[in-house]
């Protein structure tokens, strides 16, 4: 078990180690211990401001998308859980069905659509398609359905409007589910490669994963610098995971056990 654990983590340890060496040559098995410990690779990666831009782009897109999902999935989940209207069942099942559609079927039409809308190579292309996550709709509907609605009814009798009820009464009760949703959406967007890669073309708009893939492709990057960039992309995810382990686990197993 421990051996397997070492096996699972050693590539990541390798990444960090390689990013911290000035001359890194893996030509021998002790290569990992050669060279001096240094932050030079990080300095070089950030020199010129490109890497800073990639990080900021990733942060911006992930933050906006996460915030939007919190509001929109809450709204939709609430409506689907509490209101009966024409097509409400169908709308709920649509969220589950969408999860089964492979991304590759929609990349070409989404690319064409985004071009039609004049959004190709803009922040809109990175944000707009992801404002409401189907898994989030599913999660919030399930969660709100299991909440007692006494408080909502009382507030309604007191004359509170629908949106007051939603944001003042339901939302605070939904904090655990919203935390699961937020962590999930943030990580998915932070790591996302395919869509940002297809929908943008200028370096100024690259997110971190796209920027890294391009760095490797265009100029034969020195390994140390490439690994420094990779560490910058991977470390926040691992830190978020260590802090929000329970939320992440719940988000992943919710679909499996209840779905």
């Amino acid at each position: 078990m421990s051996l397997i654990l070492i096996g699972m983590l050693s590539p990541l340890v390798y990444m960090v180690t390689a990013s911290l060496r000035d001359v890194f040559s893996p030509a021998s098995l002790i290569g990992i211990f050669s060279g001096n410990l240094t932050l030079a690779n990080y300095k070089e990666v950030f020199a010129g401001g490109r890497m800073t831009l990639f990080v900021l782009n990733s942060l911006l897109v992930a933050a906006v998308v996460t915030a939007a999902n919190i509001v929109f999935c809450l709204m939709t989940g609430y409506a689907l859980a509490r209101k009966r209207f024409f097509g409400s069942k169908a709308l709920f099942y649509s969220a589950t069905a969408i999860l089964m559609i492979p991304q590759h079927v929609v990349i070409i039409p989404v690319f064409i659509l985004i071009s039609w809308l004049g959004m190709y190579n803009t922040y809109w292309a990175l944000i707009l398609p992801w404002l409401v996550n189907p898994l989030g709709v599913f999660l919030m509907k399930q969660y709100i359905s299991n909440l007692p609605d006494d408080c909502e009814q009382a507030a309604r009798i007191d004359g509170a409007g629908e949106f007051t009820i939603l944001f003042k009464i339901v939302m605070p009760l939904c904090k655990p589910a919203l935390a699961v949703l937020a962590v999930q959406v943030f990580l998915t967007n932070w790591n996302s490669f395919l869509y940002p890669f297809i929908l943008t073309s200028s370096t100024e708009l690259y997110t971190l994963p796209v920027g890294l893939a391009m760095m490797q492709g265009l100029q034969q990057m020195e390994l140390g610098r490439l690994m420094a960039g990779s560490t910058i992309a991977a470390l926040p995810v691992i830190i978020v995971f260590l802090f929000f382990q329970r939320q992440i686990t719940e988000g992943i197993t919710a679909g499996a056990v209840k779905g």
Partner: protein, 287 residues
């Protein structure tokens, strides 16, 4: 008033669903029957694209690579994940650490993983050296530059990445088994293997099928690691269907042709998913 409120509440999802999911899925199906190339008009060509695909060596190679990838990785990933989940659950000290450690690769960006393994697999990289040390017949320029080893190398990496994720799902399934069942079995004198065989595994059937469905849908779509590590090379030996769709559609702008390929794969995935789901309902399990 109430209706208007409800309409406002569901509108974001309704719009997203319509614009970014339903429309693309339908539009893509329409494109598959045309010769659309971005520039100029689209003409209806019937099933010509599909016929051409079945005679296109590049597509057939991509398809067989994808099938090899799917059927090569899924059994291994599933079995390894199941074994690890059973071991972790047996209340060993520090099981939380194992669970977390196994899971970390699967939440790390695939681009990052692909970059790390590119350098590990490269000539002089650790796994290259290790292979030589063990006495493998390693390709001189690294695993990714040989038609014999490139695809398998990527498959091994993908198993490594995915296992932790499925361990998590299996653990959730094991937790769902009522403790009393085990107690009763223990009182009846059932040993570890007997309990495993008669209780744990049958109880895990629904989650196992869920794992298979999810993994099938995912694995058929392999793209990112191919793009970063090999761009389908050497000599198309790691080209996959989604890589083919990307290359034809968004590089060469043969939109109609690429859409047909995308839909063909979609149908294959759908058939697999439906068969697997049918198996669940037939056995009386529920998802």
């Amino acid at each position: 008033m109430n209706r208007i409120n409800t309409a406002i509440l569901v509108s974001p999802w309704l719009l997203t669903l319509g614009i970014f999911w339903v429309f693309p899925v339908v539009y893509s199906l329409g494109l598959a029957f045309t010769d659309y190339r971005i520039f100029g008009e689209a003409t209806f060509v019937g099933l010509a694209n599909f016929g051409r695909l079945l005679g296109d060596p590049a597509f057939l190679q991509a398809f067989s690579n994808t099938a090899f990838f799917v059927f090569g990785t899924i059994p291994l990933t599933t079995v390894i994940a199941l074994i690890l989940a059973l071991l972790i659950n047996d209340k060993i000290p520090g099981h939380k650490i194992f669970q977390a450690g196994y899971f970390i690769p699967s939440i790390t960006s695939m681009v990052v993983i692909a970059l790390i393994f590119s350098s590990l697999y490269a000539r002089g990289g650790y796994l290259h050296l290790l292979g030589r040390l063990i006495g493998f017949d390693v390709p001189p320029n690294g695993y990714l530059f040989s038609t014999k080893t490139a695809l398998s190398a990527i498959m091994i990496m993908d198993i490594w990445v995915a296992v932790g994720y499925y361990v998590l799902l299996f653990l959730a399934g094991i937790k769902g088994i009522p403790e009393e069942v085990f107690e009763a079995a223990r009182l009846d004198g059932a040993g570890f293997w007997r309990r495993l065989y008669s209780i744990t595994l049958p109880q895990l059937e629904p989650i196992t099928l869920f794992v298979l469905v999810i993994n099938t849908i995912r694995s058929f779509q392999i793209f990112v690691e191919i793009y970063v590590m090999t761009r389908g090379g050497p000599l198309g030996s790691t080209s996959t269907v989604v890589y083919f769709v990307f290359d034809e559609g968004l590089h060469k702008f043969n939109i109609g042709y690429a859409s047909a390929a995308a839909y063909l794969l979609f149908m294959v995935i759908l058939i697999f998913a439906i068969v697997q789901l049918k198996l669940v309902t037939h056995r009386g399990g529920s998802l």
